[in-house]
Symmetry: D2
Subunit: 456 residues, 4 copies
């Protein structure tokens, strides 16, 4: 999970501020760090930092970023120490010019490729896939002297997920892997072409959504305009496997991915879930924020009143003083508070988007009970998560995924709910309205070879 954004200004205007706004709209895709690189035609200028977009950038440093082509990145908060060295875009200098890469996704075999390159004398300074990609591309470039050919060649060695925006000298390039795991779209206004992880990034700069970058497509934008080609001949959108969790959870509801409104998907999920797993409850209540839209759909379908039984503290940020061991439940209370007047003596059905470890669900069910609910039922807007993701979503190990080893009823017992129901895989496909999805985490069937992930 990361967000990427790029602009090519045909009128040669500075683009850094617009990239800043674009990243602002993509902030939900990553809060750990942010960076912008622009080219003024001869030189690259960049600024990166740890924190939210408005914490990293200010008028002073934005104004120093003079350039009419540029790319930006917001980095997802992962476990372990966050260091500025891992912030993107990643910039390298080669004998054929400067190259900057912004990457969203995980490449399954990057550690194998890195080891191979190291044997050949390549030297790495960060622990990111982006640096591996940069090395591969520059290595090819020295052979082919052609950036598009190089990207195309490199892609043949890559297994996994990569939506890329590349700034190479005076050219802006967008690449989406052949499986189209992660979203990437093209925008336009009178002066500029845009590339954005999600269409909500285009809305904020008042650009028009032209279309999505196709799986396996390389889009090139330079002074001659926009061009397209594919990393190989045998690519078909039918074979795509776009991450279903983009629709279920990650993407902003106001985004449209591959022609499908994320909002509509979430609403559909609620309706289908209601048909598959109805509940004789007095009220439907979402676990905010991710369960809200599905809960409305669920309520509508079953004609059970929708109530906001849990209130989220809008100011809960990343930096509150960590509660000590005995204050763990406090951490949940700081974030969510039940509305007793709603819940008291009611049969409540809670709607959440997913269950990972089960511990948070357990705390929430407990909180709703303590607030006076007579019964607490839980309905989940996605199937059981049974396998980890290797394409860019931060998940615990298989052992920690509660659904990998427990039945629905065992999970229900663990979280202490009166009943528990998940959306079926078929229901999910129907809600999204497309079949070419990556369902690895809920089916265990990975759309690419993942054996290399475990090779050392």
């Amino acid at each position: 999970m990361c967000g990427i954004f790029g602009i090519y200004s045909f009128s040669n205007k500075d683009v850094a501020r617009k990239i800043y706004y674009g990243l602002y709209a993509l902030q939900h895709r990553g809060q750990e760090g942010a960076g912008i690189v622009v080219s003024d035609g001869t030189e690259f200028h960049s600024h990166k930092g740890l924190g939210l977009v408005p914490e990293v950038f200010n008028n002073e440093n934005i104004n120093l970023l003079k350039g009419y082509i540029g790319i930006g990145h917001v980095r997802y908060s992962t476990t372990g120490g966050s260091v500025i060295e891992n912030c993107q875009p990643f910039i390298v200098n080669s004998s054929l010019g400067n190259l900057a890469i912004a990457h969203n996704g995980d490449i399954v075999n990057s550690h194998i490729i890195k080891k191979e390159l190291e044997k050949q004398g390549h030297i790495f300074t960060s622990s990111t896939d982006s640096e591996v990609l940069a090395h591969l591309i520059v290595k090819e470039l020295l052979k082919t002297k052609d950036i598009i050919q190089s990207i195309s060649n490199v892609s043949k060695d890559l297994i996994g997920a990569y939506s890329l925006i590349i700034l190479y000298n005076n050219t802006l390039i967008a690449v989406r892997d052949p499986k189209g795991f992660k979203p990437l779209c093209i925008g336009k206004d009178d002066d500029n072409y845009y590339i954005s992880s999600e269409s909500c990034g285009l809305d904020v700069v008042d650009a028009e959504l032209v279309r999505d970058v196709n799986p396996g497509e390389i889009v090139t934008i330079n002074k001659d305009g926009i061009e397209s080609c594919y990393v190989s001949d045998n690519i078909s959108p039918k074979n795509a496997s776009t991450c279903m969790f983009e629709y279920v959870y990650f993407a902003r509801p106001d985004s449209v991915i591959d022609g499908i409104s994320v909002y509509n998907v979430r609403r559909n999920i609620g309706k289908i879930l209601a048909k598959e797993e109805p509940c004789d409850a007095d009220i439907v209540s979402p676990v905010p924020d991710s369960g809200i839209t599905s809960a409305i759909g669920y309520s509508e379908e079953l004609d059970i009143p929708y109530y906001e039984g849990l209130i989220k503290n809008r100011y809960v940020g990343r930096t509150f003083i960590l509660p000590t061991q005995e204050e763990r439940n406090l951490a949940v209370r700081l974030k969510l508070n039940p509305v007793k007047s709603i819940l008291k003596d009611k049969k409540v059905v809670l709607i959440d988007d997913s269950i990972v470890r089960g511990t948070t669900s357990k705390r929430i069910v407990d909180m709703v009970r303590k607030a006076g609910a007579k019964e607490v039922h839980l309905r989940i807007g996605s199937p059981k998560i049974i396998s980890p993701c290797f394409y860019g979503i931060d998940m615990p190990t298989k052992e920690e995924l509660i659904a990998s080893s427990k039945s629905v009823d065992e999970i229900r017992e663990f979280i202490n709910a009166d009943s528990l129901g998940y959306l079926s895989i078929e229901g999910l496909i129907k809600a999204i309205g497309r079949k070419n999805l990556c369902l690895a985490c809920v089916s265990g069937n990975y759309p690419t070879d993942i054996s290399l992930k475990f090779k050392k």
Copy 2:
């Protein structure tokens, strides 16, 4: 608008961390600054700063705040430069001991009192009402030698709104003005008594809501327990005039004020608004976040589907780079984005909590239209705001209040809506379920003399 919180620990444990959690839950009442003062029985220790609660406090400075009685304050962001000198609680030293005050509300005649005190030789270092209150109380204290008598005497001179928590030597005191303008409640657990602006502050520390502080009541907590008295004999809850906007907009929906659930009020508002100002629309959509609950009630009453047609960027904070003049619309777009797939070709009724100047409403209506809505109707969950507030709510002047000079139809024309409807005053009273409210801003009838406000 400010939030206040206090604790007395009978088991003599440090209270600063719990005050921190309480202020965290009251953060919606003020984001400009925060402060905590504690007493260890002999000395006061304090820390204040500008910014959000988790920005002002960290483990290091919280650990330095040793003391078993304490009060805290979150300050509302007002226009003009924010300076640390105005942060509360306000602490003073007198010959009879130390006194700290945390204040929520505006005192109409404080400038007159201040001038009078200045003539008598009093000297002020901040521009806050709290300092004026501190001077008055200490002045009385030198006469009466009794803190409760002093507070009682002082209250006779005060016109306006004041919910106070006072730390005087080893005593914690809560005061609510005779009109009960601002909320204030009492909580309890095995070890502590609590005072909080709203009951959601008690929930976060797992304390039980005992009751509200009554209008005109002085609650005293010390080693001998809790006691209560009134600032004068002729006070009756019937004569209270509690700010109706606490229910409509300010308070957190999970709070209960004077026995009435804020959430229920907002839901009722939607229902009554639906009856008073129905609309033949395809969908009901809230202006997030403040219009959400009323929109659900509106939708339920009229059986029009509820859709989230505008998505709010959850990361919009206080510190983004200010857009230049020509980028004003961008500022709204950074905050709200329409979901075109929902709005396209629809007759949309938008629900918002209030209209102040009208300019933001105009931009939102425009945004919804551009997103493809066929018709845009606006319904407001409160009556027309025609008069400024003198009791603590930051409002523009009467001239800037669009409803002070324009009819509903003129306002509708200004904001370019297809229709516009406000909740009636009677509807509002019915929704809240109590009559003893301050309705000054919507009726022009002020519950206290306000002539002094204009005296120089």
Copy 3:
């Protein structure tokens, strides 16, 4: 110890930046905090903060300080927590206008006065003498309606040291106590009058030193020009008792105080010390920085070569990681390092300005011995410090002053020097060239009543 600076611009130009430069030159008088207050003729604007002048001020906040009259302050680092509330200038609002005070010195009876004022209902928010002064002046002002009369009246009650710069509405006022404990001088250029703690503050803004403010003098500068009067009739410069340590240690050597060059005094001290306490050494070496000029004089007088045997780390600041208990000697080594090639096998006479507790001298003598010196002699450019200062110099208690209870030979033994010699009181008077000095700390004779200091 603090530094104060003020400007009145007759050409109505903004003065904040020049005050910033003046405070920069007075930085040696205080590093804990800094502040500037200016008046634009109707309003005061101020900025204060903890830290060095260039840390507190930047172009942005300096530019906001619009005003043609202004005063500034640098605060001395004292023991205990430093808090922004104690930073000066101290600003108060009264019914007769705004008043800001910048104060250098300690008022012996301020705690008595404060207690008295508290009994009368005055309320204090800081623990500074400046606030007490402000209250006294405003109290008088309400009676007399005349600022100069008020200052004059107030001064009758004050015992101790006070060099003040006061900004009252549109008037700049400089006051020096009748004993002239602390320096204060007047400067001038084509556009402005200046007041500064030391003449080096005038040099930096290229102003001409007009003269010192006389003991007991009140200098008033407003649109009508500059005027002078005295706090009482029976004041004579002969009765002054200016702090001798200003010449010996505090003031910058390029300053001129009461017509006497500080540099020359320090040089003289070395020469007279050489006559009084000669030494048969191979080299003379200063303890940098304060012993340098006297060491040169000492070397010159005895014709013993001058060598810099100890090198000071120029980057030692206030913020290095505190060494643990066992690393105490490291703290001295971080600051000072011996030059072995100079000291090896030499008879060394070290020159320092004073001995307070004796522990640092002991460490330095030890360090020089370890570096190979054959003999280590110590000569001190001031008499034995036997009594604490009550006029503004931060000193330990009498018990901690090593010379209060030990003879010269006992001190010599404690610090492990081969010989030890102090400048005599007569020698000091001769070196400075004036008799009207405060010698309390070396003679025990206080020029004012100090009994109130010990009254509670």
Copy 4:
């Protein structure tokens, strides 16, 4: 100009704090940034940042640097934007392990080598020589599998100055280039071996100076102890060309470089300068701080009294508000202030260490004249600087060096001195007491080929 420091702890204790102290003592060699990398035997841990050593490090981040071998670096402030990417030590990961490099010096042909490496597919992320060195060493390592052999091979391709400390897996390696341009020495105590740019770095941690690293020597420290070898057979200390400016200006006076005390050199410079360029003056005065020691020597030789005629503001840091164009002279006044009582009506001879552009000297002479000096003579403790340095000293271009095109008399005229005298090259050699010096900047004879510097 940079400072480097390394420790190997045989008792396996954490070394980060001692490296911090070492860097503190080397702070004069670089103020732009600092970094420390340690190895715990399996992993590297590092922290870097912009600013002074105590600004970059605190107890928290020092405590996280767990490891018993480590290296540190302070970076010199160069023109242009300072970015964290250029901070050292530079860390790389290769298939044969981790490598960190701290580098002091400039490699003349690094840009040629970099270009060659880029052609071979190497990719660079910073603009530092250190990264080029890291790539070369790792490349050799893949061939030879031996770190010492690799360093030795690499050194054959390098032209220029490099004192290096390398951390490779569990080995600490010190390297000094065959010409010994930059200093580097070895220290020892009971538990540790140390490597430091200057011996003052050893003093601060109470380590004993063992000896200097010889020109062309590679010193290896690991669990088996310390070993030494040379980069080639034909290296002789006689052929060294150590930077003379280390003795004249850069190094701390308490350091000993190649067995010669820096303090003694500066004193000698003053004496020899006095013989070569005597002056019939009333007083000798240094331009502080760099001219002080030589001025004392000059004064001693000619028996003219030594006076500190210019006082330096000890608090002038890196961050004061930049004066506008018309305030340029103010910038000098903020830093230096003349003591009028010393200078008035005197014939003054000023001693400075060097003249670069001449503009600062001109301002200082002017300042001394304005302070009342009758005559102002200038004597310079080094020969005319006529050629730029290519080995690591930040100097302007040849055109900007005033002595590259002007005669002594023309320079005298420009700076408006009554007379001007430089130390001769022979005098300088005599003062230092060794002939194997780099005198390129004063002679134009470069000890290495520099033609590659200008090749593109």
